[in-house]
Symmetry: C2
Subunit: 272 residues, 2 copies
């Protein structure tokens, strides 16, 4: 039997893109839509799928096996439910009990989920190995270029994001004129951008910097930008966006770069 | 001649408390109110003072000398002006030129200002050496106590705040159930609390954690909580506040603890 891909679908457009790519290529796949995370917005009856609560880990594994899934991609961000919303089944409860009462950031939790899936015999792959042109390339993608202050701000943002990532907190930092305007935790990058737009000073606009966490498993939850990120940065009066080349995802690149060029925003892939 | 204290007054209630303490004790002082930072709200004609733009560094130094000031306290937070609002005089311009186009956090800038004042012959003192009971003590200050999850959240918050402080970004972190809800940059602690109130999950409330930056000069800008912080945490449904004992300030402690006790919030001084 050929490999069948299991798409564990969180929010955003990525899981839809994976399913669409596989559907067009005639390759077998099955979508596990996590309830309340937004996949219901694009799932249609012709796409093989089932909806599960995040807490129903045992039932999810059983279904993946019943559907003949061998390879799994975790695609799209997931909002963490409260413990009471989670309602873990016996399998999920045992998983959490094994983790213990530890302070787990997103990355820690994803690693644990990924390790568990491999223990259960599945192969976990990164979304960038399934969709072409998703990884951020190196260098400038826009007409707008970087001045000296932007270079200084990007270097500083990369340093701060590294320190944050090392304790498994967010992946995004906003810097303007040497000053860190904001740092991302669980509010999400778009909320960070909007907040920093309100906090920004006069002069050249802020720069959004995103990078992978130190030692981040590149198959899991790479920092992502897309047309929404670009639109938020334009609305907030930012000068540009810099993300780590080869270690961040750029969804909907053509559309996003066109919007950036129309607004004079720079977008660049940098090495960290 | 006796020592005369120069109070460089930023925002908040601390500079007023220093001036009031010295006035009551009959000790000589002179207030330099930094324009637009809020000291005009409490300065009265009977308090010896002058108002200066932050950029008027040369004129400030000249006035401090003319008033016979020998000892200086930097009291109260300062919102950074944009470079165009700063309008540096010749002295301030030279100071910034010496710093170069570096990415300076608040701590870096304050250290540079402090070093400059000492170079100019002044002695710089911490506000906690002038007002009694300002330093956060060790241990629980409220009736409400800490459960096991709060202890885990505090330990995690201290770790994240340390990582942030090492790159000279904010001093405050909000943690709930092992999850970092938010991290402070320049928005200020009250804005952080309000934002995290909107992001919080069900279950035991979040904890606000503040600590000094690693290697922070304890005479300068120690992390501060006060009645406003407590009121914001109550309004946002927090479980409690933990700050570093001996290295953070607790302004208006009696009033704040009373409000916390009425609302069931814990406040504790922890060692980091």
């Amino acid at each position: 039997m050929a490999d069948r891909l299991g798409i564990i679908a969180g929010g955003g457009d990525l899981p839809r893109q994976v399913a669409e790519t596989f559907r067009r290529g005639g390759e077998p796949f099955f979508v596990i839509a996590l309830e309340g995370q937004g996949a219901d917005a694009w799932l249609t009856p012709d796409l093989p799928h089932a909806v599960f609560r995040m807490g129903a880990a045992g039932a999810i594994l059983e279904r993946l096996r019943a559907e003949g899934v061998t390879e799994i991609v975790l695609a799209g961000g997931v909002r963490r439910p409260s413990l009471s919303d989670l309602r873990p089944d016996w399998y999920a409860a045992r998983f959490f009990a094994r983790l213990g009462l530890k302070a787990l950031g997103d990355d820690g939790l994803l690693r644990a989920v990924s390790a568990l899936l491999e223990e259960e015999g599945f192969r976990v792959v990164g979304v960038q190995s399934l969709i072409a042109d998703l990884l951020m390339p190196s260098g400038l993608l826009t007409h707008a270029a970087l001045d000296e202050q932007a270079l200084v701000d990007i270097a500083h943002g990369l340093k701060v994001a590294h320190a944050l990532g090392a304790v498994d907190v967010g992946q995004a930092v906003v810097v303007q004129g040497g000053l860190v305007l904001g740092v991302e935790a669980i509010e999400g990058t778009d909320a960070l951008i909007t907040r920093c737009g309100a906090l920004k000073r006069e002069g050249p606009g802020p720069v959004l910097v995103k990078r992978a966490k130190p030692g981040q498993d590149r198959r899991l939850d790479l920092p992502t930008i897309g047309p929404d990120t670009v639109a938020a940065c334009i609305a907030a009066g930012f000068a540009g966006i810099a993300t780590e080349a080869g270690a961040t995802l750029f969804v909907g690149r053509a559309e996003a770069v066109q919007a950036a060029d129309a607004a004079g925003l720079f977008i660049t892939g940098v090495s960290a």
